[in-house]
């Protein structure tokens, strides 16, 4: 699929970048990760003991963990859907999964963007899809990060599901790979911070770009349209 240039009359050009499934995925994913980070944090450091009644009366920690696992499943299923869309969606849908490291132009653009962020460029360059720096960050922080979280998350889940479960068959090998269960917990936990760091930068940049760059950003992820404020999609 190619970009559809929707509106040519105004100086303000819009291109349809993010198709509906990508947008639905994006916000589902953002929500799942928020829930996972909050519940995950509590799994590592439980809130103060609550209630003194019989244990069966309450299931607080159980619910925290259940919510984590439910969100984990949503995250994983959505991620599979997103991977599927990389094959059938427009070419922006593929940007998340590889870096065109063989493309000189991409490297040049990358340096231009870096200079822009270092306040060395007066004018930002506009991109239809992700700018190269964003793409780089998304690939390393997000694509690899979320895959790692899913693999380690399901490996940990397989410990409860038990040997012989499908989770164990698919992900059980991850545990000895990293040493033992405690190591995987620690790495999974560190992975959370890895992703949180991505989110901090990502949200900042999204809002900043929205304000400072030549294109719409935040609304793009809502409407799917990339609007070029100066009408020049290049």
């Amino acid at each position: 699929m190619t970009d559809t240039v929707r509106d040519q009359q105004s100086s303000c050009v819009s291109i349809y970048v993010y198709e509906v499934p990508v947008r639905i995925w994006h916000w589902t994913n953002a929500l799942a990760i928020t829930v996972l980070a909050v519940t995950g944090y509590f799994i590592g450091s439980p809130p103060p003991s609550m209630g003194t009644g019989e244990a069966y009366d309450q299931f607080i920690f159980g619910y925290i963990r259940f919510t984590h696992f439910a969100a984990g499943y949503i995250l994983a299923v959505a991620w599979i859907g997103r991977i599927y869309w990389a094959f059938v969606g427009n070419h922006h849908a593929r940007e998340l999964f590889y870096l065109p490291v063989w493309d000189r132009r991409w490297w040049q653009d990358l340096f231009t963007v870096v200079r822009w962020y270092l306040f060395l460029e007066r004018q930002p360059k506009a991109f239809v899809g992700h700018n190269p720096l964003a793409r780089l960050a998304m690939f390393f922080f997000f694509t690899l990060g979320v895959t790692f979280m899913i693999f380690t998350g399901f490996a940990l889940y397989s410990e409860g599901a038990g040997q012989g479960s499908w989770q164990d068959a698919l992900f059980g090998w991850v545990i000895p790979l990293f040493g033992q269960s405690q190591d995987v917990h620690t790495l999974h936990h560190l992975g959370m911070w890895w992703i949180i760091i991505f989110v901090i930068i990502h949200v900042y940049v999204a809002i900043r770009e929205d304000i400072m760059s030549r294109t719409t950003i935040v609304s793009t992820m809502i409407s799917g349209e990339r609007t070029f404020k100066d009408g020049n999609p290049d």
């Binding site: 590592g44 925290i64 007066r122 038990g162 040997q163 190591d183 719409t216």
Partner: protein, 366 residues
């Protein structure tokens, strides 16, 4: 050579057929097998000569042997007198010096391919192996010699299985687990520091009874005893799910037997049978006696941070901080960076606006 079977010995001890069968069904139960297996066990015990066992010791603390002799079913004396033939074990054998070495060689020569090698402790490889010397030579030589003709090897405890305390950082002697030295034999890891007595005798009797190796998991541990975590069958688990934790030693919650998660319990990350079989004939296990599991049957548990932290320090990076401390620090740095960047951006923007060079906003066009 006349060989005596387990059943012969029991009969001659005055044990009746009935109590023999009862013993067999207890064994079946201890192994987690149904009643259908009882005749099979009985048959095996009535016909087999005692399997020779060579039990060698490397760098270790001998607690695995100590644990072994605590076995209640079967009793250690019955194992040693009637089930196996413990032909070499430096901790318990009568002979010493040359006579001990001769017993070792005799057994290997006579039972090539038919004896079980039990290894307690591990060989150090630094200093040409001379951090552990037997008969004037490195222990690793003795280990290799015994392994050469063994039918199978049992790695007792955390030492033989993973290296244990002497292999903890910085592992000054390069203490090395058995499977990294012997690579061409089936090895059954029975981890734990030490393993539970009945798990040890359970593994041996399984091999004698069914004449095969127990089914092993990915890490080479018998599935029958190591396929679940302490946490999966911990009797304090309802308190865990309820969010009821011991908050500090000897507090009200400790007295009520709440979950020890916040005291650093490693039950959620430890594969062993303590919470079911329990220790010393079922009397208790660490958690029941108020202390968290320290993860003693897990690979490298000594270097996984304090026994009292749930979020343990991160050894992989040589960092003296846990995941939250590292993460929060990193997020803090990034957050500060973002804030500075935002401030500079705002300044620049204001500057440019004054110069009239700012790309116009959509609103201005509407």
């Amino acid at each position: 050579m006349q060989t005596e079977t387990f059943y012969d010995v029991m009969r001659r001890q005055g044990i009746t057929r009935r109590s023999f069968m009862k013993f067999c069904s207890l064994t079946a139960a201890a192994l987690g097998l149904g009643p259908a297996f009882v005749p099979k066990i009985a048959h095996a015990m009535q016909t087999k000569p005692r399997t020779p066992v060579i039990w060698v010791h490397g760098l270790e603390c001998t607690c695995c042997s100590e644990s072994f002799i605590r076995s209640a079913h079967p009793l250690a004396k019955d194992v040693v007198l009637s089930m196996i033939s413990l032909d070499y074990d430096d901790t318990l054998m009568a002979a010493a010096g040359h006579q001990a070495e001769a017993a070792f060689e005799d057994t290997i020569e006579k039972y090539k391919g038919n004896y079980i090698l039990a290894v307690e402790g591990n060989p150090p490889l630094n200093e040409d192996g001379m951090f552990c010397i037997v008969g004037g030579k490195p222990f690793v030589d003795q280990l290799r010699r015994a392994a050469e003709h063994a039918k199978a090897i049992i790695s007792w405890g955390a030492c033989a299985s993973y290296g244990c305390v002497q292999a903890a950082r910085p592992n000054p002697t390069r203490a090395t687990p058995v499977h990294k030295v012997i690579t061409d034999k089936p090895i059954i890891k029975v981890p734990g520091c030490p393993p539970i007595a009945e798990v040890m005798t359970g593994v041996i009797t399984y091999m004698l009874t069914f004449d095969r190796l127990p089914e092993l998991d990915r890490q080479g541990r018998p599935k029958m005893f190591y396929s679940q975590r302490i946490h999966d069958k911990c009797y304090r688990r309802p308190h865990f799910d309820a969010g009821q934790f011991v908050e500090s030693w000897d507090d009200e919650n400790a007295r009520k037997g709440y979950c020890l998660y916040k005291m650093g319990c490693k039950g959620p990350t430890t594969y062993n049978a303590c919470s079911t079989i329990r220790w010393n004939d079922g009397v208790s296990f660490p958690i029941q006696s108020g202390h968290g599991c320290i993860g003693c049957s897990e690979d490298g548990f000594w270097d996984n941070g304090s026994f009292y932290d749930r979020l343990t320090n991160i050894k992989q990076f040589g960092i003296e901080a846990n995941a939250d401390e590292v993460g929060l620090a990193a997020a803090g740095v990034v957050g500060a960076g973002v804030a500075v960047h935002a401030a500079v951006s705002a300044l620049k923007r204001a500057q440019m606006k004054r110069q009239g060079a700012v790309p116009e906003k959509i609103s201005e066009e509407a």
